[in-house]
C-alpha cells in the first residue's frame, strides 16, 4: 500500500510540473507578450516600459524558473488588470465555483443513481434501453444553449428562479442543473452496470434465499457494492465540472473562477490566465488522486497495478 501511495504521489507531482510548464508556454504563444499587453495604440516606448516593468526583458528560461519557483511557494503572480495578487482573486471567486460544482454534483448523483438502479432492475427490457437512450439525448444538448432555454422557461416565463447572479441560494439551481447534465450519463451508466453485476452475484442469491425483501436486497446489499466505483468516479466528474463551469458561469453571469479565467483571457491578463489554468489543473489532479486512493482502499486488488 505504501509503495502504491508513493508512486501515485510521485505521478501527481510530475503531472503538476508538466502543467506548470504548459501553462507558462501557453501564455507565450502569442510571441511578444509586451506588445499584446500594451494594446494596439501603444508606441515603441510604451512597449519597452511594459517589458521592463513586468520583467519580460529577462531571458525566457529565467522567467520560467521564476514562475515555477514562485508557484511552488504559493505565489501565483500579480494581475495586470486588478493590480492584486492572483491568489487573492482566485480565493475571492472560489466559493461561487465550489458551490456551483457541488450543487451540480449533488443534482447529478441524486438523478443518476436512482435512474441507474431503476434501469438495472429492469435489465434488458425496453424500459432499460429507453432510459439509457435518454442519457444519450441529454448528452447531445449544448450546455450553454440548455442554460439559455432554462433561463427563458423558468426565469422569464414561469418566473420561478432568478435568471442570473447568486444573491440567494436559488441562483445556483439552474446553473447546477445544466452542469449536472454533463455528468449524469457517465454516472448513470456506471451505477447501472455496477448494479447489474451486483444483482447477479452469489451474495444476492444468498440474500434472496434468506427471504429478504426486494427493497432490502437492492438498497442494502447490491447498492453498497455498486456505489463504490460511482463515488470514485464522482470525484473525477467534479474535477471536469469545475473546469467546465467556465461556460455556465458566463451564461448565468456567476463571478466564479471560470468567469475570472474567461475575463482575463479576453483582457490579456496573462498572470491570471496561467494561474487559473494551473489552479483548475491542480484541483483535478488532487481529485483523481483522491479517487485512485479511494479505489485502492476499497478494492485491494488495484494496489498492485
Amino acid at each position: 500500500m505504501l509503495a502504491f501511495l508513493l508512486r501515485r504521489l510521485l505521478l501527481a507531482v510530475l503531472v503538476t510540473l508538466t502543467v506548470l510548464t504548459v501553462s507558462f508556454a501557453l501564455t507565450r504563444l502569442s510571441g511578444d507578450l509586451a506588445i499584446a499587453i500594451a494594446g494596439p495604440q501603444a508606441t515603441q516606448l510604451d512597449i519597452e516600459i511594459i517589458r521592463k516593468a513586468y520583467g519580460l526583458d529577462r531571458p525566457v528560461i529565467v522567467q520560467f524558473f521564476d514562475w515555477v519557483w514562485s508557484a511552488a511557494r504559493g505565489d501565483l503572480g500579480r494581475s495586470y488588470l486588478y493590480h492584486e495578487p492572483v491568489a487573492n482573486l482566485i480565493r475571492a471567486r472560489l466559493p461561487v465555483t465550489m458551490t456551483l460544482g457541488l450543487t451540480g454534483l449533488l443534482i447529478a448523483l441524486s438523478t443518476a443513481i436512482p435512474i441507474g438502479i431503476f434501469a438495472a432492475m429492469r435489465e434488458g427490457t425496453v424500459i432499460d434501453r429507453a432510459v439509457m437512450m435518454v442519457a444519450v439525448i441529454g448528452q447531445a444538448m449544448p450546455s450553454f444553449w440548455l442554460g439559455l432555454v432554462l433561463i427563458i422557461t423558468f426565469g422569464l416565463q414561469l418566473g420561478w428562479l432568478p435568471i442570473s447572479g447568486v444573491d440567494s441560494w436559488d441562483g445556483y439551481v439552474l446553473p447546477g442543473i445544466v452542469l449536472a447534465f454533463s455528468a449524469i450519463p457517465a454516472l448513470m451508466r456506471l451505477t447501472r452496470s455496477g448494479m447489474v453485476d451486483a444483482l447477479a452475484s452469489d451474495y444476492i442469491r444468498t440474500a434472496r434465499a434468506k427471504g429478504l425483501s426486494r427493497w432490502s436486497i437492492v438498497m442494502k446489499h447490491a447498492l453498497r457494492n455498486a456505489a463504490m466505483p460511482v463515488v470514485a468516479v464522482a470525484a473525477v466528474q467534479l474535477g471536469f465540472m469545475l473546469s467546465g463551469s467556465i461556460v455556465i458561469e458566463s451564461v448565468f453571469a456567476l463571478h466564479g473562477v471560470g468567469y475570472l479565467g474567461w475575463e482575463s483571457i479576453s483582457k490579456n491578463d496573462f498572470p491570471v490566465v496561467q494561474a487559473v489554468v494551473l489552479f483548475l489543473a491542480v484541483i483535478y489532479i488532487l481529485l483523481t488522486l483522491l479517487s485512485d486512493l479511494l479505489n485502492a482502499f476499497l478494492d485491494p486488488r488495484l494496489r498492485t497495478t
Partner: protein, 276 residues
Amino acid sequence: MSIRKIAASIGAVIVLGVLLMAIFAPLLVPHDPFAQDLNLRLVPPSFMEGGRSDHFLGTDQLGRDYFSRLIYGSRISMLIGLATVITSGLIGVTLGMLGGFIGGRVDMVVMFIITCRLSIPLILVALAVVSLIGSSLTVVVMTLGLLLWERFAVVTRTTVMQVRTLDYVAAAWAAGCSRTHILLREVLPNIVHHLVVVATLEMAIAILLEAALSFLGLGVPPPLPSWGLMISEAKDYMFFSPWVIMVPGVSLFVLVLGINFLGDGLRDMLGATRDA
C-alpha cells in the same frame, strides 16, 4: 426493429442529411447568408405570427436570412467535426499504438502524456490558445485536434494490447514481418472498428466545443454563421424573440444527437467499445 436499430437509422439519416446540406449549401440557400437588410430585422419564422413567406426561419438582428445562415453553418460544424477527428485521430492512434504495442517504458511515457492532457482544463486552454493566436477556423480546428486525442489514445492502447497477443500477430512475427508492417497491416485493420466508434463520439464533442468557444466569443470569427456564434449574437434578443436561439440550438442538438445515435448503432453492429 429494436429501439436501438431505429435510433441508429435516424442518426444515419440526420448525419447524411446535414452532410449533404453542407456540401450543397450554395445551391440550397434562398438568400445570401451574409446580406444584411436593416429594414427586416428579427422577422419571425414564416409559420409564426408576423412571419414572412420569403424568410422561412425569419431573420436575425441584422436582417440576415436565418435559414440561409443555418445551412451555411452546417458547413462549419461538419468541417470542425471531421477535421478535428482526423487531427486528433492521427495523434491519439499513434500514441496509443506506441504504448500498446511496444509497452514497457514507452507505454509509461504514453500513459503519462495522457494523464497530463486529462489534467489540463480543456475549454480554458482552448479559449486561451484561440485568443492568443487569433481566432480563425483553422486555429479552432488545430486547437481542438491537438486537445481531443486522449480517448483515441486510450482506446487504441487497450485494443492493441488485446490484439498483439493473438495468433495471427505471432504468425506475422514468425514470417519475419517488420514491426511497422505488423502495426499497420495486422494490428490496425483489426482495431479500426473501435476507432470508428470513438471517431463519432469525438466528432460530437468537437462540434459542441466549437459551438461553446464561438458562444464565448473566442471561436469562429464573425460574420461566419457558426451555430454557436449565431446563439451568442442572438442571445440579447432571446427574451422577445426566443426563436433566435431555438433555431441554431435545436440544429446543434439534432446533429449531435444524430452522431451519437449513429455511434451507438455502429458500436452494436461492430461489437466495439467506445468507453475508455
